[in-house]
Point group: C2
Chain length 335, copies 2
């Protein structure tokens, strides 16, 4: 770069007071108002964090080493930064901000690091788990809009662990997807499948995030749950999960995902229902089966967008900020 | 972990308002008041950043992917997270907080990611650069305390790039340390060596930090400089560098390191001085040589500690925080 072309504010003699506004000024070259605003708040909070703690060089280096270890723990099938975001409550917060839910709709929760795009598209009634140790479970669901109308052709992703508490991708010797599938809702908004009863399990805690949890005396467990993701053009993408009411970790989920409206009961499967959904050989073992029913309610993109803008403007006004919506996201009213 | 042993506040039904205090509560198991305070401020600022920007899931994922790439760019000889901290002004800020300097002393600046511990301990007068393309430079320095008394036996680390702007560790085929050394000050606080005149150079910008700089239209250049680090028991460790006054990037250092008091002039070497320091064969080419003189002033550990406490308490009081010093670092007065 030709130095004569440098169009930056002169940056010299920085100290603990001047560094923030100058960093923000030199970063302001990007003309996208949203990028500029996000970056400005990032630098502001990063610096305020250091100033309010009077962060020492040694603590800073501990942070550098921790983040490096988190990055180096990531692989194609392990996302330690998402895990870190999860245990710090950031994932739940971002979901709450970005996918606001009107009262009648299904609440969202954390995606977690184990969703993949390799689930097979299956037909209704498929058993999604190959784990013979798992307790068999019949799952009957519907998906509707906020007016109670069934939504057909919704792409539903479902994923759960095996009975040992591990997702397929956590097994080095895995042989194709297991404990996960994709399916489409039918014309009445129904979808159903066979699975295994979810179990509680620890999030991966042999890495830096596990060390962090240990350091603050937190356990790494998530209560038993099953993940669902719903996508259909015109509807706000819903990432959610349902949680087992009787799980011992139900009030201390390591990633803050549990919501009262997402807590479910697994009931013994009644033979009248079994007749409609299980094969003859499956029915022979009916006492081993449980049933889960859940009715999901999706929010339209329009509803979600309006509510998001409304919530954003209200929350930012409470913070004393004058903002406007730009490409669906807030930026300062006067830049 | 036995769930009956879980001694955590019940965490359920988290939303954008309640998630912060609950995350802080569940993290408060560590009884060290400093760790608790730092973590509390970290969660607070991380969440406020998301709330003030109304961070979208897509932006959050961009952040996750960016941090992952930063971590995965780190190697034994490349520290991309330090580079990120440098270009965000955090490194300079932490140095300013942790190593306060009374007026008469030498200011500190960013360490950067290229210090190593493999520099050879050399005798006075050693040529530390093997680069024959570099312009030869004689460096005459002293190191004193704030009362003007020479300090002997200070361990001084010195490092600079080659004439192409690369540190030894950036060459895949490097053959032992080059452009760096360690030496000790003599009984009169003097140390001197031969080197090459530093050149401006871009920080590594083929990775995620380089992409970030490009995205905000910042150049990756640092003005020509030479790094120095001083260590002696009883004195506050000084990490600093001196910068070439005539460098075109002197007011736009990519890592905010330049301070007026650290700007130097490289003068032509006078023959009267050359007689004392150069060999006969070196003197034959005297017109190629420059000279750099600099007198460093170290702060005692005691002075630095008192000033650090004083500055911290004053800065935190201005923020309306009632704090006390605990193991040399601030924690809330009433916890």
């Amino acid at each position: 770069m030709d130095p004569s072309q440098v169009k930056l504010p002169p940056i010299m003699d920085m100290n603990a007071e001047t560094i923030t506004e100058n960093t923000i000024a030199i970063n302001a070259g990007n003309q996208d108002p949203r990028a500029k605003y996000v970056l400005e708040r990032l630098v502001h909070h990063l610096h305020d964090f250091a100033r309010e703690t009077r962060l020492s060089t040694q603590e800073w280096m501990t942070g550098i080493e921790f983040l490096t270890a988190v990055g180096q723990t990531c692989t194609d099938v392990r996302q330690e930064f998402i895990l870190l975001s999860d245990v710090l409550g950031l994932s739940l917060l971002v979901d709450a901000i970005d996918h606001p839910k009107p009262p009648a709709s299904t609440e969202g929760t954390v995606l977690g690091p184990f969703h993949t795009h390799e689930a097979e598209l299956v037909v209704p009634g498929t058993q999604i788990s190959k784990d013979e140790q798992g307790e068999p479970l019949l799952v009957l669901c519907t998906v509707k809009d906020t007016q109670g109308r069934p939504i057909d052709d919704v792409m539903v992703d479902i994923w759960e662990t095996d009975s040992g508490g591990f997702y397929d991708v956590q097994h080095a010797d895995k042989d194709g997807p297991d404990g996960r599938c994709a399916m489409r809702s039918d014309k009445d908004g129904r979808f159903w499948f066979k699975a295994i009863k979810p179990v509680s399990y620890p999030i991966p805690h042999d890495g830096p995030v596990g060390k962090f949890l240990k350091g603050v005396y937190r356990h790494p467990y998530r209560p038993a749950h099953m993940h669902f993701m719903f996508e259909k053009p015109g509807f706000d993408k819903l990432v959610t999960a349902v949680y087992d009411r009787v799980d011992p970790y139900i009030t201390s989920d390591a990633v803050f995902g549990v919501k009262d409206s997402l807590i479910v009961d697994f009931w013994p499967l009644e033979s009248a229902v079994a007749t409609d959904y299980l094969s003859e050989s499956e029915r022979e073992n009916i006492s081993a089966w449980s049933i889960l029913r859940y009715d999901f309610v999706l929010v339209s993109e329009e509803e979600a967008g309006s509510l998001r803008d409304l919530n954003s403007m209200a929350a930012l006004a409470r913070l004393g900020k004058r903002m406007k919506v730009y490409n669906g996201l807030p930026v300062p009213e006067v830049d």
